[in-house]
Structure formats: structure tokens, C-alpha cells
């Protein structure tokens, strides 16, 4: 359960990290793409629009300039400016002049000579009511300044969706005044502008109050003009609620405004579709993230669970546990590391078991030697008292010493104080002296403060025995010296060095080599030495043990163990 939970949260973590990265890439990247794209297309579109707007404005300007030129010509023509007046020419002359000067603009306009509010000469065909009010509208404007061109709409022909454009100029002060009036109807203007703008675009020509003169193309319905005017009126941003692009231009000082309208570069639906794609991608992204997260978490958690299982197995005692992952990544390394570790641990444990077995063997040998200690003990005591009663002091000493040795040997403790060990050596020597007819002396030379140091029991007796039996063989003035020294060295624990020296025939090189060979089994036949060495190494490790060397007269055997005033823990306890 716990494992599942952990795996789950790991997956979650992975999922969110991957998700965050993917979504940020998809969403931000997508939005940036769309917007960049949009901006670019918009800019291109705008440039095209500007060109188109330029074309149509140029067309309008051409019309206005040519009209202006005609008005100039009328003003300059005495025949026309004086058409009504004291020196007026015949109607035929006036008409001839009028047709001549108005030729360049007659395609799209009607040119009239007004006397007051009434048209006297007209280049147009019919003569519909073309009276203009005096003191009102265009004539009032023209009246203000002689020779100035004014622009207005024909009050006789004005609607909310268009009007006839009037371009007029006062040409004579005579009487109520003469005026040259050029009319360009909405239809004529539209015809003139045909082809100047794209079919999808719109064009509006208005006066300065945004009253329409001509609405063409998509602007024909007047909706955008109404919106535009409303925005200016409400003092909002001019293109509020208008999707189309609007280009506004004042036509010089005519008071006319040209407005060009183009559809938005981007249909809203296209942008919407773009964003929908992003949303779709994000959705796919979420699914992919889920998949990746679950795959990755499995690929990581599976080896971990295998490892956990293997460790459990190992803990239960199966030292042969091995992991096989077949992977070459970090987990593969981990697995092979684990395998190496178990192998090494197995080896170490086997070594330890072997060492233990050996100690046990020694102990078994020892125990086999321990027959019935109490019975022996009591017997020795009896022998001692019988000997005393029968006046045989050697037997008493023998049995008494033997009893002492026996007590130490069979005691439970594995260690004893150095003084006890020395006592045991003395007792042993007492016995051996009787046996070998007092042919050697024992000398003990140990500082008092060292006497209390703890040593493994029964390590000196075998050495002394070795000296007596092998070193002093056949001598009558043998001498055995046992001395001990505390060795203090910086950086190392204190050590105790016990030296057993004899003045016998000296140890053989062969023996020295055997002792130093580190191979306890090599000392076969010298059970004493072998045991001592084994015991010391088992207790203290391979840095300690016995060493032998041959002197000029005799043998010196050195025992090196750690110095301790406290009883160390035994291996068996």
C-alpha cells in the first residue's frame, strides 16, 4: 500500500512538471505564433490598404483639382464671368465658352452659371429645379469671398445616405451676383470611383460634419458612418464597435473628408480557429503528459521495487540474492553494485564463521582435557595430606602446585591478572623442578604496576614449558627469566610486552620461520606455542601475537598484547 502511494505521488510530481513544460510551450508558443502571424498579416494588410486609399484619394483629388481648374477658367473668361451683366455676350457665345471650359469635367459633372439663386446657363441637359437659396447654404458661403472655391451639398438633393456635391465660386459682383456652380452627383462620383477600390472595401466622402456625399462599396449601407459619427459624438475611440479598418483623411482645405474602409485582416473566426487548435493541442498535451509520466514513473519505480524486494530477501538470510535488471543506466549500475555488495558480505560472513569454528575447536580440545576437575582436585588434596603425613614434602609440593594450576586452568574466565599468570608459572616450575631435579631457576622481573594488567590466561605456561622441555634439555644450570614491560607509543594503544628468556640451546631458524609464518597450522607438534599464538590473535587481531628470536645463549620469546587494566570481553562470552 505504502509503495503504491509513493509511486502514485511520484507520478503526480512528474506529471505536473511535464505538464507545466508542455502546456507552457503549447499555449504560449501557440498564442505567440497566432499573434505574430496576426500582427504580420495585419501590417501587410494595412500597407495594401494605404496604397488603395492613396489611389482613391488621388482620384478624388484629381476630380477636385480639375474642377478647380474649370472654375479658374470660368473666372478668367470674360464671356462667362460677365455672362449676366451690362456687357454680356449672346447666349450662344456664353454656351460655347461654357462647353469649352467645362469639357474636362463634363463627364461627371454639370456646370452652371447662376445669377442670384437662379441658373441662367447650364451644361446639363434638362432643366430640373436647380434653384439655390440666396443667403443660405452654398451661395451664402460663396458670397463671403469673391473668387474663393466653396464646397457644399445641394440642399435640393440631400439625403442621409448621400448628396450632390456642389463646388461653387462667386465670379461677378454685378447685381445679385453671378456664381459658377459645379454639381457632381452621387452616382457620377461613384461611377468615377469605380475600380479605384477593391470590391471588399468601402469608401465614403463626407463633409466635415460626417454628412455623407457619397457612400460606395461596403460603406453603402451607412452603418459604419453612423457608428463613426456616434463614436466621435460620444468621444469614444473612433473605431469602437467597428471591426473594419478605417482610414480617415481630410481633403486639404475643402472641408471634405474621405474615409476608406477595409475588412479586418483577420476574420474573427480564423483567430478563433487558431485558439481552438491551441486548446486541442493542450488537450493532447495533457494526455501525452499522463502517458509519459506513467511510463517514466514505472520505469523508475520498477527497479526500485525489485531492489527493495532483493534487500528484504537478503535481510532474511539469503546471501545469494542477486538482481538482474538488464539495464545499462544508473539503475543497472545500482544493481551490479548491490550484487557486488552481497557477494562481499557473504565472503566476510563466511570468514567469521570459520574463525568461530576454530575457536570452538580449541575450546572443545580444552574441555576434553578438563576430565573431572573436582575429582582430580580432591585427589590432589588428599595426596598432599597423605604426603605430609608420611613426611614426603616433594609430593606435597607437587600436588599442591598442580592443584593451583588446575584451578586456574579450569576457571570459567578467559582472562586473569598478570600476577596470577605469574603465580601459575611459578607453581608450574615448582613441579617441573622436582621432575627435572632442580636443574633450572625461574626469575620473574615485573614492575609492580604491571602486575594488575589483564592477560589471556594460560599464555605464559606453554612458553615456559617450551623453554624447559626444548631449550634447557640436558642442562643443569638452566635459567628462565620472565619479564614484562608496558610499551607506550604515540598514536597507538598501550601495549604489554612479556618476554620469556632462557639460556638453553637456542631456538632453531626453522622454528622462528614457522612462528612468523602466520600459519598456525604450521606449528603442529608445538601445541603450546600454537595455542598461545592462536588465542592472542583471536582475541586481539593479527597485529598481536608471539615472536621468537635466538640469543647468543638461549631463546627469547616475546608476547605482545594490548595493555589493559580492565578485564576485556572474551570472544566466547
Amino acid at each position: 500500500m505504502k509503495k503504491l502511494l509513493i509511486k502514485h505521488s511520484f507520478k503526480k510530481k512528474l506529471f505536473f512538471i511535464v505538464l507545466a513544460i508542455t502546456l507552457s510551450l503549447v499555449i504560449f508558443g501557440g498564442i505567440l505564433t497566432i499573434q505574430g502571424f496576426q500582427a504580420r498579416i495585419k501590417a501587410d494588410h494595412e500597407r495594401d490598404d494605404m496604397v488603395q486609399e492613396e489611389i482613391i484619394n488621388q482620384r478624388i483629388e484629381d476630380i477636385l483639382i480639375s474642377t478647380e481648374n474649370v472654375l479658374d477658367a470660368i473666372s478668367e473668361s470674360k464671356t462667362l464671368s460677365g455672362a449676366v451683366g451690362p456687357r454680356s455676350k449672346s447666349a450662344q457665345d456664353v454656351y460655347a465658352a461654357l462647353y469649352e471650359v467645362s469639357a474636362p469635367i463634363r463627364d461627371f459633372s454639370v456646370v452652371d452659371i447662376y445669377f442670384g439663386g437662379v441658373s441662367h446657363y447650364s451644361s446639363g441637359r434638362g432643366d430640373a429645379t436647380r434653384a439655390l437659396p440666396m443667403g443660405y447654404g452654398v451661395l451664402a458661403k460663396a458670397d463671403k469671398e469673391m473668387g474663393k472655391t466653396v464646397y457644399d451639398m445641394d440642399p435640393n438633393d440631400v439625403t442621409l445616405s448621400g448628396a450632390t456635391l456642389i463646388i461653387a465660386r462667386k465670379i461677378s459682383d454685378y447685381g445679385v451676383g453671378s456664381y459658377a456652380v459645379v454639381r457632381i452627383s452621387e452616382e457620377a462620383l461613384k461611377k468615377e470611383l469605380t475600380g479605384a477600390f477593391n470590391a471588399r472595401d468601402g469608401f465614403m466622402l463626407t463633409n466635415e460634419f460626417f454628412r455623407p456625399i457619397c457612400l460606395a462599396g461596403t460603406a453603402e449601407d451607412g452603418i459604419n458612418l453612423a457608428k463613426l459619427r456616434k463614436n466621435f459624438f460620444k468621444r469614444d475611440v473612433y473605431n469602437k464597435d467597428i471591426k473594419e479598418n478605417i482610414y480617415i483623411k481630410n481633403m486639404k482645405d475643402t472641408g471634405l473628408i474621405s474615409i476608406y474602409i477595409t475588412p479586418p485582416a483577420f476574420e474573427e473566426s480564423a483567430v478563433k480557429a487558431g485558439y481552438q487548435i491551441i486548446i486541442f493541442q493542450a488537450f493532447i498535451g495533457v494526455l501525452l503528459c499522463l502517458l509519459v509520466a506513467s511510463r517514466m514513473s514505472t520505469s523508475i519505480s520498477r527497479p526500485i521495487s525489485i531492489l527493495t524486494m532483493a534487500m528484504k530477501q537478503f535481510r532474511k538470510g539469503d546471501f545469494d540474492t542477486k538482481i538482474e535488471l538488464n539495464r545499462e543506466d544508473e539503475f543497472g549500475q545500482l544493481a551490479s553494485g548491490f550484487n557486488k555488495m552481497t557477494a562481499q558480505l557473504k565472503e566476510t560472513i563466511q570468514d567469521r564463521v570459520e574463525a568461530e569454528r576454530k575457536v570452538n575447536e580449541s575450546r572443545i580440545e580444552l574441555m576434553q582435557a578438563q576430565l573431572n576437575p573436582h575429582f582430580l582436585y580432591n585427589t590432589l588434596d588428599t595426596i598432599k595430606w597423605v604426603a605430609k603425613a608420611n613426611q614426603v614434602p616433594e609430593v606435597a609440593t607437587l600436588s599442591s602446585s598442580l592443584a593451583t594450576i588446575l584451578r586456574t586452568a579450569i576457571s570459567e574466565s578467559q582472562f586473569c591478572m598478570l600476577e596470577n599468570e605469574l603465580d601459575l608459572v611459578k607453581n608450574y616450575c615448582d613441579i617441573q623442578k622436582i621432575r627435572f631435579d632442580d636443574c633450572f631457576d625461574l626469575e620473574i622481573d615485573v614492575e609492580k604496576d604491571i602486575l594488575k594488567a589483564y592477560v589471556p590466561k594460560l599464555i605464559l605456561q606453554p612458553l615456559v614449558e617450551n623453554s624447559i622441555i626444548h631449550g634447557l634439555e640436558g642442562r643443569s644450570d638452566g635459567k628462565i627469566t620472565v619479564s614484562a614491560l608496558k610499551i607506550i607509543k604515540e598514536g597507538e594503544p598501550d601495549a604489554l610486552e612479556i618476554v620469556v628468556k632462557d639460556n638453553g640451546k637456542g631456538i632453531s631458524d626453522e622454528m622462528i620461520a614457522l612462528i612468523e609464518s602466520d600459519d598456525p597450522s604450521a606449528l603442529e607438534g608445538h601445541l603450546g606455542l600454537k595455542n598461545v599464538n592462536t588465542i592472542i590473535r583471536l582475541f586481539y587481531g593479527k597485529n598481536y601475537g608471539i615472536k621468537a628470536c635466538r640469543l647468543d645463549d638461549g631463546t627469547k620469546i616475546t608476547v605482545l598484547i594490548p595493555f589493559s587494566l580492565k578485564e576485556p570481553k572474551g570472544v566466547m562470552s
Partner: protein
């Protein structure tokens, strides 16, 4: 562990949100906005250059006048056009929101009835206007006078036989031959009924209505055409309408009733809570000004309310009856009752 995950989630959400905010901010192109602001600034119409006009006039009437007003004053006019009755309702709503300056058009009886909607304003040339129709307290100002006239079809009616007086309309020979619009839909029709009862006598009104013989037109716009095409022989309409159509070539003749006639003007008034009241005053001055009055006469055949304008040929001196607007308003209910009882609505 789960706390950690939550932390990561939080971080991720925060980063996502933050980044998207940044992007959204970046959406609005600052350059574009600046350009838009500049254009808006260039064509900005300041408050003191604005005026909102509600008008029940026809486009051909109000548009040249309003455009000339714009040209002369530089004030931008927002126009709301519609029928008189509904427009008065709209003005009432707009007045509450301070979204209307001027009510332009509609008979002064309508203005009289809705006096509470307006604030008094005296036109700069008030002393030059026909004093009979100026509101004493200046709640409204008359624009043009519109006398009630008779018309007849020249082809079907001889000049000698044509009705010359209100009394003549009761004649049996016109039974079912008088073009008349339903007063329920036409304010002018109601004014004609009131005029009849004030001139001929209330007791004769039922005779007149009976003489219509259930032949009722639904709108006043149908009167002239139906007389022109001979559906009806005679009709009762306004001088302005008759003249305009005669000028346009309709073969009809206009007759001023011999007893005299009622010449109710249409009006213009400043609306309460007008947001641009200064400009509204300018507008009233403008429409009652000499040039506009003259223009309205020459172009729309409307009789000017100014006394200092010489009437052009065709505008006969008329004998005007003092029309009691208050009385007409009071008797409205009874007149309609009478109308409904005598006229059977055609289904």
C-alpha cells in the same frame, strides 16, 4: 510528499497564469492604441459643439436645415427622426437621461399638451414672430404655419362646383367623396375635426362625419394621391402638402375656405435636462431666423411665422380663425366617441 506536489502545482499554476497575463497584456498593441487615440483626438467633437435633435419632420425638410445649421455654427447635430406621437414618448424618456436637447416638428397642440417636457426659451427674434402662436411662457416656439385647405381634382370637379366653405362639405354631393384620414392615426385629421366644430358648430360635426360615408383613409399621406387619381373628388389637407404636390405636377386645385381656416403652426422646443442647452437656444434662433424661414417658404412651401418675410406668390392672404387649442384638447374624448360611433371600422 503530497505537500511538495501541491507546492509544485501551485508554482506551475502561478507561472502559467502570470505568463498568460503578460501575453494578454502584450495582445493590445500600444502603438495601435496610440494611433487610434490620435485619430479620435483629431475628430473629437467637444461637448460645446454638440446638439441632439429629435425631429418629426421629413428628411427632405430637416436635413438641409440641420446641415446648414451645422455649417453655420460648427455644431455637430445628432438626429433622431420619427413620427410625432412616438417621438414625444421618446423625448420624454431621453429627457430623463439628459439625452435630448430639441424637439423639432409636430403641431403646437402637441407641444401644448406636453408642456411639462420643455424648458422655456425665447427666440432671439421672438418679437418678429406671429404672436398668436408663440407660447406665452416660451415653452415652445412656432416654426412654420400650416393652414388647413381643401383640394379638388381638376379633371372631375368644375371650379364652380368645388367646395368653397366648410359648410359646403356637408353637401350631399360630396357624400363619400371626401378624402379624409383616420383621426386615430393622423393628428392633422383631429385638428380638422376640431376646426370644423369650432367654425361650423359642434352640432354639425356628426353630419360631417356621416357625410364621409365610412370612406376613411388610414394615413394623411394618402389624401393627395387618392384625390389626384380620382378615388375621391375632394380632400382636406395642409397648405404645405397641397402646394408641394401641385408644384410637383398633380392636377389638383387648392381652396382656402371662405369662413376662414385654422392655421396651426408646428413647433420647436428646448427639452428639459438638455445637455447642450446653449446650442439648443442657438438652434431655435436659427430655425426662426430670417434665412431659414425664407428657405422653408421657398423650398418647402411652408408659411413662415416671421412677420418680416414677404410672402411669395401663391401664398394668399388667409382669413385665420382663432383656434382654441385648449378647447380642442378638452373635447378630444367626446369627438373620438362620436367618431367611433359613426364610423364602422372596416375589418
Amino acid at each position: 510528499m503530497s505537500v511538495h506536489v501541491k507546492g509544485i502545482t501551485k508554482k506551475a499554476v502561478t507561472i502559467l497564469l502570470g505568463a498568460s497575463m503578460l501575453l494578454l497584456c502584450a495582445c493590445k498593441n500600444p502603438h495601435e492604441e496610440a494611433v487610434a487615440a490620435e485619430i479620435s483626438q483629431n475628430y473629437d467633437i467637444p461637448k460645446e459643439k454638440q446638439l441632439i435633435v429629435y425631429t418629426s419632420h421629413k428628411e427632405e425638410v430637416y436635413l438641409p436645415i440641420i446641415m446648414e445649421f451645422e455649417n453655420q455654427t460648427g455644431i455637430y447635430v445628432e438626429i433622431h427622426a420619427g413620427g410625432t406621437t412616438e417621438l414625444f414618448k421618446d423625448v420624454r424618456e431621453a429627457s430623463k437621461e439628459s439625452a435630448c436637447d430639441i424637439m423639432f416638428g409636430g403641431g403646437i397642440e402637441s407641444f401644448e399638451a406636453a408642456k411639462d417636457l420643455f424648458i422655456p426659451y425665447d427666440a432671439i427674434d421672438k418679437d418678429k414672430l406671429d404672436s398668436r402662436y408663440t407660447s406665452d411662457r416660451g415653452f415652445y416656439t412656432p416654426f412654420t404655419e400650416l393652414p388647413i385647405v381643401f383640394i379638388y381634382n381638376n379633371k372631375l370637379v368644375r371650379k364652380e362646383d368645388a367646395p368653397a366653405s366648410w359648410e359646403d362639405l356637408l353637401s350631399e354631393k360630396w357624400k363619400g367623396q371626401i378624402a379624409f384620414a383616420n383621426p386615430h392615426s393622423s393628428g392633422t385629421s383631429y385638428t380638422i375635426l376640431s376646426s370644423f366644430s369650432q367654425i361650423v358648430g359642434e352640432d354639425k360635426l356628426d353630419d360631417f362625419i356621416n357625410n364621409l360615408d365610412n370612406q376613411v383613409l388610414s394615413t394623411s399621406g394618402e389624401i393627395i394621391p387618392s384625390v389626384s387619381n380620382g378615388t375621391f373628388l375632394v380632400g382636406i389637407t395642409l397648405e404645405e402638402t397641397a402646394k408641394k404636390n401641385i408644384l410637383a405636377g398633380d392636377d389638383i386645385t387648392m381652396v382656402y375656405p371662405s369662413e376662414g381656416t385654422v392655421s396651426l403652426p408646428d413647433g420647436v422646443a428646448m427639452v428639459k435636462n438638455a445637455p447642450h442647452s446653449y446650442n439648443a437656444g442657438k438652434f431655435i434662433d436659427f430655425v426662426t431666423g430670417f434665412d431659414t424661414q425664407k428657405y422653408a417658404m421657398s423650398r418647402f412651401c411652408r408659411r413662415p411665422v416671421r412677420k418680416d418675410i414677404m410672402l411669395t406668390v401663391g401664398f394668399d392672404k388667409i382669413k385665420e380663425i382663432d383656434f382654441d387649442i385648449e378647447k380642442a384638447a378638452k373635447s378630444e374624448e367626446s369627438v373620438f366617441l362620436l367618431w367611433d360611433s359613426l364610423i364602422k371600422e372596416e375589418e
